[in-house]
């Protein structure tokens, strides 16, 4: 493998139902930063059926080029035709770096493609930099420059590791949604659009989609909320979430929850914060009746202000809370709602 042949920072521009996913714009923002020291272009890889029109919005968020793989076989996400599309683009265009969102799609597509093109893949990254590997010079070992350094949590968020892929190309990472910043869109920006179709021949690895069932949810995406009122098992029942909804309404926030609440069937999965849910970083995070398992904390500890209410004085949530209140949520939360309403009326 001639590493010098591989150039450019590529982003898998995930789309679902021909709508670009937010993670795609976040990745483009990061790719632009990474491309600068490398003096490279940013290329978005757009895969789907009838998706060509989406190229302009990718340009507005920072793509210099857009490679479009458009084919009827690619109508809805399936591992095989999508992996074939992305792997073929990599083999044809030879990027130096490929970023994929760590979504339920990207965490399937990424490993399949990286194995197919025989390179490394670092999962669920939260920090990406360009730097040297090894970080410090080691006698007898070549120090390589301009490497992608990929930082990720492991052990349920208890440890962090920085990983490089010095001898294989492309360097591939999946990136957690909600962590990287998108750029302010440049209205009217245009990218060079390259259409590419490697050909799709269904075989035994093409699965059949028999049914698609979309979750019905009219709620705000918790990743965009400035204030989250989050409930755990301690809330006691689905009905009792009413007191959290009232608080959220009073303070202009959105309700979210812990995994225990989703597992109990009280709230839908898209409201779940944590390792297997969403990573959030609101201005204020209310953790109400949430014990604070490490997997939960991993998804919310970057919040600016954390207010925890829990009756168990030893709950681990108090280890990360800025303001911890030991007490009965059933008494405190409704009174807090009334008090906040009164404060806001004064203004």
């Amino acid at each position: 493998m001639n590493l010098e042949e591989y150039k450019g920072v590529y982003v898998y521009a995930q789309q679902v139902d021909n709508q670009i996913s937010g993670i795609s714009y976040e990745l483009l923002g990061k790719a632009k930063e990474l491309a600068e020291p490398l003096n490279a272009d940013v290329t978005a890889v757009l895969i789907g059926s009838g998706v060509k029109d989406l190229a302009d919005s990718l340009a507005e968020y920072g793509a210099d080029k857009v490679i479009v793989v458009d084919d009827p076989e690619l109508k809805d996400y399936r591992t095989e035709p999508y992996a074939h599309a992305l792997a073929s683009v990599i083999n044809e265009f030879k990027p130096e770096i490929v970023l994929v969102g760590a979504t339920a799609i990207g965490r399937d597509l990424g490993p399949t493609v990286s194995a197919r093109v025989a390179t490394g893949l670092t999962a669920d990254c939260t920090v990406l930099n360009i730097g040297d590997f090894p970080l410090q010079p080691v006698p007898g070992q070549e120090q390589k420059h301009n490497q992608l350094l990929m930082t990720r949590p492991a052990f349920g968020g208890n440890t962090i590791a920085t990983i490089a892929c010095p001898n294989n190309r492309p360097q591939m990472a999946t990136v957690r949604p909600g962590v990287m910043q998108k750029i302010e869109p440049i209205k009217g920006a245009k990218a060079e659009v390259i259409e590419y179709n490697p050909g799709f021949t269904p075989d035994n690895r093409y699965v059949t989609i028999k049914e698609i069932v979309k979750a019905v949810s009219d709620t705000v995406d918790i990743m965009d909320a400035k204030i989250l009122v989050s409930g755990g098992r301690g809330v006691g029942s689905p009905e009792n979430f009413k007191i959290l909804e009232d608080l959220a309404a009073a303070i202009g926030g959105t309700v979210s929850c812990s995994r225990a609440v989703v597992d109990a069937g009280w709230k839908p999965k898209d409201l779940q914060v944590g390792q297997t849910g969403k990573t959030v970083r609101p201005n204020v995070y209310f953790a109400i009746g949430i014990s604070g398992a490490i997997q939960h904390v991993a998804g919310m500890e970057e919040s600016d202000i954390i207010v925890a209410i829990n009756k168990d004085e030893d709950a681990p949530i108090f280890d990360v809370a800025d303001f911890g209140i030991v007490g009965d949520l059933n008494k405190i939360v409704p009174a807090l709602t009334e008090s906040i309403k009164a404060e806001l009326e004064k203004k």
Binding site: D76, T79, E80, A104, I105, D108, T112, S114, A115, A118, T119, T122, A123, D124, L149, P153, A154, F155, G156, G157, N158, T159, I160, A161, T162, A164, C165, V207, T208, K210, E211, I212, V213, K214, A215, S217, D263, Q275, N283, V284, I294, E301, I305, I306, V307, E313, F318, V320, A321, D322, F323, G324, I325, V326, I332, A335, L336, S339, E343, L344
Partner: protein, 261 residues
């Protein structure tokens, strides 16, 4: 019908995380358990055994002490257990691990392979799809439900805002979510039998079609540049108010101080 379940022994990070006095993770003090997603995968396989008489083989790669999770799987009802263990395989990343496990699976007959979605130590979710890629079979990740229809498997596959019902022809590989089921307990008879059962052990030399360039630390494309235990920002204030009103005034004063209200 033959089902292979890939399982991993992991430190229990759920709630039982222990720290050394210097703040680093105390791995020795943590329990080693069967990875929860893998256990759901095993339960799914055992239900295929109950329903269709499937033969269930569990396979793991790890240190010799990983036999503990294989014996647990046997005690739950698995028929055969295989341990892949060899110093030369140590330090493997997901590419090297999946290359190695795929080579082990090539020694076996199978209709279905089930892995967990991800392990709670690495959280990568990469090894399952990569095994499928090495074996050139279809993969369905994030399995919420599954059933068998003839030579096909019908799977409810979870996505962020929806699920797809997918049909794949066997042989194929599924990665299981913990939500798939509630795994059964070991039975006393099962535990007794599992203690006596023979566990097949394979070394590097038992794995065919496996290039030395793709195994162990040296065969891993990804290299660790730095690893450290995470420094958390630490606890702020904690108060134990006498009354709900006192609690409310405390929170409201803090929200005002921070210009939230």
């Amino acid at each position: 019908m033959k089902v292979i379940v890939c399982i991993k022994q992991v430190p229990d990070t759920k709630g039982g995380v222990k720290f050394n006095p210097d703040g680093t993770l105390d791995r020795a003090a943590m329990l080693a358990i069967m990875n929860p997603d893998d256990k759901a995968g095993l339960e799914a396989a055992l239900r295929l055994k109950d329903e269709y008489g499937a033969e269930v083989t569990v396979l793991t790669m790890g240190l010799p002490k990983a036999t503990d999770v294989l014996r647990e799987a046997l005690a739950m009802g698995a028929d055969k257990a295989i341990l892949i263990t060899d110093r030369r395989l140590g330090g493997a990343d997901t590419w090297a691990t999946s290359s190695t496990i795929a080579a082990g699976i090539r020694n076996l007959d199978y209709d279905l392979i089930i892995t967990g979605r991800q392990a709670i130590d690495g959280d990568t979710a990469q090894v399952g799809p990569q095994i499928a890629e090495h074996l050139q079979i279809p993969v369905i990740s994030y399995t919420q439900e599954l059933k068998i229809e003839g030579d096909k498997v019908i799977v409810k596959r979870q996505y962020d805002d929806r699920y797809h019902v997918l049909e794949a022809k066997m042989p194929c590989l599924l990665t299981a979510l913990s939500e798939l089921n509630d795994p059964r307990y070991m039975t006393p008879g099962g535990i007794f039998d599992a203690c006596q059962a023979e566990i097949t052990t394979w070394s590097r030399d038992d794995l065919k079609d496996l290039d030395d360039a793709n195994i162990g630390l040296a065969g891993s494309p990804t290299k660790i540049a730095k690893a450290s235990d995470k420094v958390r920002k630490g606890a702020g204030e904690k108060v134990v108010p006498e009354s709900p009103d006192e609690a409310v005034s405390y929170i409201v004063s803090k929200l005002k101080e921070k210009h939230v209200i």
